[in-house]
Amino acid sequence: MLVSPFSTVMGYSSPDGKGIYLKPTSEAAPDGWGEPRMDTTGATPVPIIPGTPGGPLERCLLRRKGSSYKASATKYFQKSGNITWWGDWRNPAKQVKGKHVLSYNGPKLRYFRDEGFNYGSDSSHNEIYYLGNFATIAPGPVLGACLRKINFYDPIAQKTAEETFIIVAVYQDGMDKFYKKRWPFRLKTPYNMSDAVREKEMRLYDAAEEPYGWIPMGTFAKPVDAYPPETPWFFNQSGTAAVAMRRTKQTFNNGYEDVTEDKFVRLKADVSDSNVSVSDLGNLAPLQYLEKYSKEHPTYVSTDILDYDHSWQEDHVKVTISLDGAQYVLCDYVGDTLYWGKVKYQIIRIQEGYYTKGTDPAQYVITYNGQDKNISNLGLRFGPRVHNNIEYGYVDPVPYVPAPADHEVTWWISVYEKVTLYYGPEGNEESGSIDLHYYDNGTSDEWAGNPRQQNNPYLYYYQFYTRHLRGFCDLRNMAFFSRDLHKYGLWQNSTATVSQTEKFKDTLYTEGNSSGEDKRSVKKTKTGTSEFGWPYTDMEQWAATFNITLSRTTYVATWPAGNYQGEIQKPGAKTFYAGDTTGDHAANWPSISDLLYGPVNQCKGNGVRTEQDSLAYSVEVPDVENEGSYVIISDTKPAGDPAALVGYGTKFYPIGSC
């Protein structure tokens, strides 16, 4: 490199590396492109021709400059993880430079286990990244990491000085172990990483031989019957505390028998300069399942048009089952404030059966004064005459023609179900919420008099949806990506505190919808939640089945011998935690596992939220409108238009940020 000695420097742009790291892919190379990104002659690198799938330089850095994005791919910025720790500002006077950010690998949804992710299954799980490069390599799979300034006595130099340390929680030898190491912001560039460097980075501290090695701070033995770590430790901004959720097996008596179910415990670590102590905060009381049967036996006498008395009796049998309670499922720090998240169940299902005995046929005709008169009491009896028919085993005889002295049965099922993910700072943990499941079909009183429509059994659905978090969730600046039965959507906290007009997207960008006309101006005057997604016009695509199971569908009325009143069976009571909501009292409501874990969060792609408020996601998900096909959705048009922005590949997946 040669310039003249009289040259003068006009400006310097530091290699910031801040932004979102993307991995371009295509059908031909789903693992992503790598070098060389030029044609075989090397003469014309533009347009960039796809290179070696999975090769080096497979990622590019997407940086937001003003309102536009800039993509770059160099050998200097290639490394990032999807789990981030946000520290203090790198330069408080220049906050545009962002915060100190460490990143490492973890489950896709940050807080919830990902069945495709197992700590220790890949050597990259030991890596910690900073500004697109390696910060260091930990001695085990990284569960959490942070930076903290600690006064350190160097026995070689024989002086004490405040130095920056990386503190890390790793999973090693079946235990959570905490280490720290001096880290003077020495980055290891991806193209210089070797097995030798990796091995040296993992060594323990020795004042003479390894002055920058790892220093043990504490060990936390795995709780009894706990699963291996599935979600990270989250450190606070100051590096003085960390929290984690851990799944364990719990054996307990549910009111009838001893059962073993999964449960979450909350772990909290207090981090001092030299050691770490972990305490188990447990969880809330288990969910309470209750079932209750009651029966009333009213008798009635009515007079027909001919002044004849008609008497009949009814058995009103009511079955009520309910589920109440909450369980903590996630934790995080926003700055230095501890946040908890819990799933709260409010479910009640009521099945009412009206067994009427003593009614007449619809046509009970007598001759009176030479005229035919219908004196049937069918129109006189009480109880609902309308039915809702939500997939349970009852078949309504059509047309129903009761025989004399026969009994007629009508039913009503009331369902109110609400499962909510609450989150908020400790002490105010229900300050924010996301409805994960909501279903309300109204009561019999609300629907009395409305004829049932055989062709539309869903007429009585007031509200109905179940939302699955997918691909992306970060409560530090709350945003999550979800799928419910009708659409995919992005929920995002609005942070405006003064009146301003912003353009929101009604619809997400997809391959088939890349126009810029899908925004609307919204005048915001306060903080709130914005929703993006496919519009509700798609609600006609409602799923055709929904399981509501109430197993008590048979009842044989006895009259008059069985003419008793009051409770016919003592209430049942069972308790359970997060894991198992099935069994002989099957209720088929969505379990915590259904909503937050397992296959429902499996989808290609990812989302990334940066400490500078940038957000990008690009996820390939099943198309709700075309069964069997998939659709790519992303939140931003530039990010969703990789051909123009990145120059190669047909789609991309966000990897992480630094």
């Binding site: 490199m1 040669l2 310039v3 003249s4 000695p5 009289f6 040259s7 003068t8 420097v9 006009m10 400006g11 310097y12 742009s13 530091s14 290699p15 910031d16 590396g17 990104r37 014309t44 690198p45 533009v46 960039i48 590019c60 850095l61 940086r63 800039k70 993509a71 770059s72 791919a73 160099t74 200097y76 910025f77 697109g132 120059g647």
Partner: protein
């Protein structure tokens, strides 16, 4: 402190014990030095994300002495690349193409002549005269390299 020989007279020429030159003007261009080489101004590829040093690169300096004699110092500068990493585009100096393209780049390299703004009027006159003479000499000796 007195200077040796100061008692011999106050002539400017006799006063100088060495041949003293001052910068009259310089020819510069702006380049960006990156980890991947030197690029013309504004031509750093969008796929590059590393450090970038923007430099006013000096190609030549015209030096003049008190006898209105001019010397030209030229510096060998690595040819900057355009955004497609091609080199050898035409050179445009002060709006005039002084050299046709020599490579496969079509992006012109812009050079600018910058006079020394710190000169007093006498030195400016000296420089103007020297440069006029310099051009005349060049014209008389066409075999001289063109700057």
């Amino acid at each position: 402190m007195t200077r040796k020989g100061s008692d011999k007279g106050a002539s400017a020429d006799s006063f100088m014990l060495y041949n003293r030159f001052f910068e009259y003007e310089r020819i510069v261009s702006t380049v960006s030095v990156t980890d991947e080489g030197i690029f013309q101004a504004g031509q750093v590829p969008s796929t590059y994300g590393g450090a970038q040093l923007d430099i006013q690169c000096v190609h030549a300096v015209f030096m003049v002495n008190s006898k209105a004699e001019m010397i030209l110092m030229e510096f060998e500068v690595e040819p900057p690349m355009d955004s497609e990493r091609k080199t050898g585009g035409p050179i445009i100096r002060d709006g005039v193409e002084i050299r046709a393209k020599t490579g496969n780049s079509d992006v012109p390299i812009t050079q600018t002549t910058i006079p020394n703004a710190a000169l007093d009027n006498n030195r400016k006159l000296l420089g103007t005269a020297a440069k006029a003479q310099f051009k005349a000499d060049l014209a008389a000796q066409p075999s001289q390299p063109k700057s």
